[in-house]
């Protein structure tokens, strides 16, 4: 029985995804779930914020991903004195062939397919804003001229949770532009053992690109379109909307009082007690697109409840603005999201 074109597309997506995972696993020890989340965001067209202690392989993961995808890669080490022009580029006076001088735009490091923004919280908000505009709109504006970024554009930013002195925490609005926020945990005992053994020899892992250099971007864009073609039932949309609405505490500012949704969840006590602001609709978009990627990975042409639940934590945890009580009691946003997802299971019936 011959496969339909749709089935072939899904199989191709699965194959590509797994090949990338396999290649990354050659250099990155462990962190399988993290790599899957990163790839999910990549194929969904989002950007990822990685939070982890130094030396756990953040930069290695991003660099390896660029190599495997055979896409252009740049790295920006964010510091306090980093200026927006250092990211986006600037106009410089250049000599022409005819001897005249003219302003010529010199592209900054942001003009790449894969960008690593290392320790993004160490730069000033002004510089951060320059990056975040590019992330959201896939373009930069310099001296009144707008320059489109070449798709696919993928930003991987890292946060160092320690050494917080002299840092500028990302505003909530800027955090919302990241598709996922994932945490890079410490490797396990065996993973550390493997890391030590594999990185202290002359043997270098041979990463084989999944795509050819010239066709990588096009193929990736095709796969991204395929993700958006995944079918979603109306009740799944209701479910996602209910999840998003459940993150908003009772009595929150700017809450639409007259809203009487058909499907709703009872507000979790944690939400009312510790959350100041819930997720934005962008969180719902994230849930939907991420669930579609997971559906394709599962070989399905439709989204299921499990897909949504699976990505709820990385998609929503950085979108919840906790209050002082939550910080005082060391409440993690992920715990609140998990509670919301658990309470939402009754909506499945």
């Amino acid at each position: 029985m011959s496969e339909s074109p749709a089935t072939q597309l899904i199989n191709e997506f699965q194959h590509t995804f797994r090949r990338i995972e396999t290649e990354l696993a050659k250099v990155v020890v462990g962190h399988g779930d993290l790599i899957r989340d990163i790839l999910t965001a990549f194929f969904a067209g989002g950007h990822v914020l990685i939070e982890g202690v130094p030396g756990t392989g953040k930069t290695l993961i991003v660099r390896s991903l660029a190599d495997v995808l055979n896409l252009s890669f740049n790295r920006i080490q964010f510091t306090v004195d980093l200026m927006p022009a250092d990211i986006t580029g600037t106009r410089m006076v250049m000599d022409r062939d005819d001897g005249r001088r003219d302003f010529v735009f010199v592209e900054g490091p942001i003009f790449a397919h894969v960008l690593l923004a290392d320790e993004i919280n160490r730069s000033t908000p002004k510089t951060q804003a320059a990056l975040l505009e590019a992330m959201a709109e896939q373009q930069v504006t310099v001296a009144g001229t707008t320059y489109r970024l070449q798709p696919p554009f993928f930003v991987l930013a890292t946060l160092n949770p320690i050494e917080m002195e002299g840092t500028y925490p990302l505003p909530e609005a800027q955090l919302d532009r990241f598709f996922f926020k994932v945490r890079l945990t410490y490797p396990t005992h065996k993973e550390i053992q493997r890391i030590i053994g594999s990185t202290t020899t002359n043997t270098v892992a041979d990463l084989r690109p999944v795509f050819e250099r010239g066709e990588a971007a096009e193929k990736i864009l095709t796969l991204r379109q395929l993700v958006r073609d995944v079918l979603v039932a109306p009740h799944l949309e209701e479910y996602i909307a209910a999840l998003i609405h459940a993150t908003i505490p009772v009595g929150a500012k700017y809450l639409n009082i007259g809203d009487t949704p058909k499907t709703t969840l009872a507000k979790d006590d944690f939400v009312n007690r510790y959350v100041s602001f819930g997720s934005s609709p962008r969180g719902g978009q994230t849930l939907m697109l991420g669930a579609k990627v997971l559906a394709l990975l599962d070989g399905r042409a439709n989204v299921s409840y499990d897909d949504v639940d699976r990505i709820a934590v990385p998609a929503l945890n950085h979108r919840l603005v906790l209050n002082f009580a939550a910080e005082a009691e060391n409440i993690d946003p992920s715990d609140i999201v998990v509670r919301i997802v658990q309470s939402a299971r009754k909506l499945r019936r």
Binding site: S4, P5, A6, T7, L9, I10, L226, D229, V230, L231, V232, A233, P234, H235, L236, D298, R300, A301, N302, V303, S304, Y305, D306, R348, R349
Partner: protein, 484 residues
């Protein structure tokens, strides 16, 4: 285009749709059954409870309890009807139910959502749509309707059946117990009931419409003899004259008049004869007195006019008993027996109180020793006196049925009790003690005194003026009687 007719895709869609319809019908039927069975269980239990309460509680408590029960049943009815409406599944919800039950990861519901959204005949909504349809078609062979809804009939039918059986049992127990008794109305005697119906209806109508007594075809007892009985009847009629008994208002008004006035009104307006209460035949048969009474009643059309000849037809033991009774009275009797009561006792009682008194005295003398009241009669010796011992109403000509039909007096216990009270009152009205009544002279003297008192009462009443309202009542009563 999605679902182009004749294509493989359209065939697959038709198959999916057919399966979906069957699943939906089964789920909805199952859900409706479950709610109806639950409702039926509650209704059956409620009915059983109401029946139990009806048999065990007083009307007040039954009313108090039945309202909450009925309200609860009404709420249950609304609740389960609402649940039926809520649980009624459309195609989308049916598909979601299938997905949840069979863990299809929303494949089926997504496909059905696309179908219900109207993708058929339109451009493909997604390049992955064929894959979704193909998956569902492949999965369709892997599951059956029974996997979604295993049972066609929910287990809720069991409590429903149990509750229904309980209710039927509670209903059946009193029915079975009542069926064991002989019912006067049954299919066996339906023909007889139908034949007797007009006659019964006319009798009932006559009873309702009649205030005055019907002409008796039986020879009545002496008014002197039945004075206490008449008073007892009057007392009973007054007691039973309750508003709810559909008695004519005139009868109530007339009965509320003083007894002497009633008697006077009767005599003055119509001169009706004294009507003796019909003897209770059952009591007489039980006591073996009927023959003797018939012998004393020559006016009975069924009997020969000659009382002597009737007496001859009596059974030998009855004749002997009469003779024994006559002898037992000793010398105080004056040789009279039942046969010798003669025509004076058979003359219809009419006229004034004096005339009736004379007849009563003569009748009493003739009947003494031969006529004995039935043991249930209020004139039993145990009541404290001889029959006809000169009650104050003797000879007043009062119709003994003025207070109603003889059937009212058939209750021997009531008659007896009331007669005792009446006799007691009369005794106290007189100044003689019981010991004085034992000899004949004392009895006659007391009777004469009582008659004198009655006569003086009659004279007083005759001279007194009848109130206009009473005249109006009596005229209305007799106008109705004439028209009837």
């Amino acid at each position: 285009m999605v679902g182009v007719p004749g294509t493989e895709e359209r065939v697959a869609l038709a198959e999916v749709e057919e399966r979906l319809r069957r699943v939906r019908a089964r789920i909805n039927w199952y859900s409706m059954q479950r709610n109806l069975y639950n409702l039926g269980t509650l209704v059956a239990l409620g009915i059983a409870l109401l029946i139990l309460c009806a048999f065990s509680l007083s009307p007040l408590w039954f009313t108090v309890l039945s309202w909450p029960v009925l309200l609860a049943l009404a709420f249950a009815l609304l609740f389960f009807l609402r649940r039926i409406v809520i649980e009624w599944l459309d195609f989308d919800l049916t598909a979601r139910h299938v997905d949840t039950k069979l863990e299809l990861k929303e494949r089926f519901s997504t496909l059905v959502a696309q179908l219900t959204a109207g993708v058929i005949g339109k451009p493909q909504p997604s390049q992955l749509w064929p894959h979704l349809l193909r998956e569902n078609t492949a999965l369709l062979a892997g599951w059956t309707i029974k996997q979604v809804i295993p049972r066609r009939v929910p287990w809720h039918v069991l409590p429903f059946l149990l509750a229904s059986l309980l209710a039927l049992f509670i209903v059946a127990v009193p029915l079975m117990s009542s069926r064991s008794e002989t019912s006067p109305f049954s299919l066996d005697n339906l023909q007889q009931i139908v034949e007797e119906l007009p006659e019964r209806a006319s009798q009932a109508f006559a009873k309702q419409m009649s205030l005055l007594p019907e002409p008796s075809d039986e020879w009545g007892k002496s008014s002197l003899y039945n004075q206490d009985l008449q008073q007892a009847q009057g007392a009973m009629r007054l007691e039973e004259a309750k508003p709810g008994e559909n008695r004519p208002q005139d009868a109530l008004s007339f009965a509320s008049l003083p007894e002497a006035l009633q008697q006077k009104i009767r005599q003055a307006l119509e001169g009706l004869p004294d009507k003796e209460p019909k003897p209770n035949k059952e009591q007489e048969v039980a006591k073996g007195k009927e023959d003797r009474r018939l012998a004393l009643q020559p006016s009975d059309k069924t009997k020969k006019p000659d009382a002597v000849a009737e007496a001859k037809n009596l059974p030998p033991n009855a004749t002997e008993q009469i003779q024994e009774n006559s002898r037992g009275r000793g010398g105080e009797k004056k040789g009279g027996n039942s046969a010798g009561s003669s025509s004076a006792a058979q003359t219809p009682v009419q006229g004034s109180g004096i005339q009736q008194l004379d007849r009563a005295q003569l009748e009493r003398k003739n009947a003494r020793g031969a006529f004995q009241p039935s043991p249930d009669s209020p004139q039993l010796p145990s009541s404290g006196g001889e029959a006809g011992e000169g009650g104050p109403g003797a000879g007043s000509g009062t119709d003994p049925r003025i207070y109603g039909e003889q059937s009212v007096l058939n209750d021997g216990s009531k008659s007896f009790q009331l007669a005792l009270e009446t006799t007691h009152e009369k005794t106290h009205q007189g100044e003689d003690s019981d010991t004085d009544d034992k000899d004949e002279g004392g009895i006659i003297e007391k009777s004469t005194r009582g008659l004198n008192q009655q006569q003086s009462l009659d004279d007083t009443i005759r001279k007194s003026r009848v109130p206009a309202e009473y005249e109006e009542i009596v005229k209305r009563v007799f106008t109705r009687g004439e028209s009837r």
